[in-house]
Amino acid sequence: MQDFADLVFEGMTVCGRVIGARQGFVYLRGEYRYLVDALKATLQSRREAGLLGEAILGDPSFSFDIDLHIGAGAYVCGEESALIESLEGKHGVPRIRPPFPTTHGYLNKPTVVNNVETFASAAKIAVQGGEWFASRGTAESKGTKLLSLSGDCERPGIYEYPFGVTVRQVLEDCGARDAQGIQMAGPAGHMISAKLFDRRICFEDLATGGSFMVFDHRRDILDGIRNFAHFFVHESCGFCTPCRVGTSLLRDLVDKVHTGHGTRADLEEMRKLGQIMRVGSHCGLGQTAPNPVLDSLDQFPEAYERRLRSTAFEPAFDMNAALEQARWLTGRTDPAAYLDEEALVGAMP
């Protein structure tokens, strides 16, 4: 949107023409507010050039305009029906589907929701043709993909690749010499370890939304996972039970392992909980929120295992800390008022 906004608007206009729409919106996350002036200027210059507004290019049957809408930055508003709710001025809570936006979208009218990359590609295809677009990429994934590379690499930034490129190639190009894992497609995407670096980026192999977060060997994978777990607690919209409650339960379990209090039973619990969230949540956010945990349990088991206690079970709370109030009330500070934690845990079934 910074460098190719005009191309995106062009693509939206093409879409408007194809489906017969009169109004388009750009939904801009609050974090990108700094782009507003530039985007407005671009829209205005398109209007002045007769490429937006009434009777585009002099064709009285073709009128289309684009408005900017600024969201408050909720992650869930990336879900298309939550985005539409937010666009209508309501809470960003995903709708029940069906009906889908294609029939009941903005103000219950048929609506196309696409990301900027798709619209930019559409504009190019309109000019250069499908053949040109399909000449790159793989059999099932035509064209190119934008990848946003960040994390432990020498040259972070946005890269464009034909579909089918290997993960290893991408890492080499951005100067990620020592990667142990990558979080692909953001926190809700998938975490992959070096074992999968020869896989190819395309729909038939490793599909990705576009973001690549590189973790090198100096990092503790579990630190990253812990961040993601906290992130989803913050971003859950709170509508449905598995995501609203599950994200907090999962965070607590990750924290428990991270602080060295976890046991094998907790890892099993994470898997079960993650499964309930994955299949039970109302929208994609809750369904994908456990991905970082579930993936890393498979791909980086050692990140968890080296922190586990050897016992089979440990309570979720600290018994000694729980007794603090009782000690305070009775004024006791003698050694017998403190529990021997090791002995206690050993005595658990």
Partner: protein
């Protein structure tokens, strides 16, 4: 006569009409699928996820999924029951549910569904949220500790009573039910104990004052028979002459 549309639920044939969901069709035919945020008198909400069933191999909410001819729906299989128990356990630990001390015990849908689903303990770590009780209204009491955010009271007040007394505020785990007044107190609203919103709570959150324990605990609706027999499925099944599943 044209062929009757139908799907199967745990192997039994369920007829349906266009526009019905798996849930409404099943209930109309007298088959119970556990539910909390769904109420036959309201449009589906899809938030509690207790009604998850396996439809053609995929887990989906039965209250929001349209019925379609030939679907294979599985509800009483261990995979679904385990999922359902997990979701119910989440609801129990999210709030403060002390059933033996609750006026609604025995008439509470949450408790009854939990019994039906075979939930024996809350399993997860309790959140123990602090949620003050609102006793400001002369005829009703709100114990927010028991709210499961099904939004039935929100919907009833808005769509039936035309009053908009309730709303949900906050996001994620901080989402909570509020009363739509500057003070946040029910006493400051035109809420009336005869309102629809006063009758729909599936838990012991919105309670009537001045009339506790008229039916002793142990003799209440779900104390006597499980919810799949005496819940809303019974009323509907009788009216349609359908069979009950027990």
């Amino acid at each position: 006569m044209s062929e009757e549309l139908s799907f199967t639920l745990d192997g039994r044939r369920v007829p349906f009409q266009d526009g019905q969901t798996i849930m409404t069709a099943a209930l109309a035919a007298g088959f119970y699928i556990p539910h909390l945020c769904f109420n036959p008198e309201f449009t589906p909400h899809g938030s509690c996820r207790v009604c998850l069933v396996k439809i053609n191999g995929r887990m989906q909410a039965s209250c929001t999924t349209p019925a379609a001819a030939g679907q294979t729906v599985l509800s009483e299989i261990e995979e679904v029951r385990e999922m359902r128990r997990g979701i119910l356990q989440m609801l129990f630990v999210e709030g403060n549910h002390v059933c033996p001390a609750c006026e609604k015990s025995g008439a509470c849908q949450l408790q009854a569904v939990a019994y039906y689903a075979g939930m024996l303990a809350p399993h997860y770590t309790h959140f123990y949220p602090r949620r003050p009780v609102d006793a400001s209204h002369p005829d009703a009491l709100i114990d927010f500790n028991r709210c499961i955010l099904c939004e039935l009271c929100v919907r009833a007040s808005r769509d039936v009573d035309g009053k908009n007394v309730f709303a949900v505020q906050g996001r994620g785990i901080k989402a909570h039910l509020v009363v739509n007044t500057p003070s946040g107190k029910l006493g400051a609203t035109d809420f009336n104990i005869t309102d629809k919103a006063a009758q729909v709570c599936p838990t012991g959150t919105i309670l009537r004052k001045h009339s506790g324990y008229e039916i002793p605990i142990g003799q209440r609706l779900y104390d006597r028979k499980p919810i799949n027999v005496v819940g809303d499925v019974a009323a509907l099944a009788v009216s349609k002459g359908g069979r009950r599943h027990d």
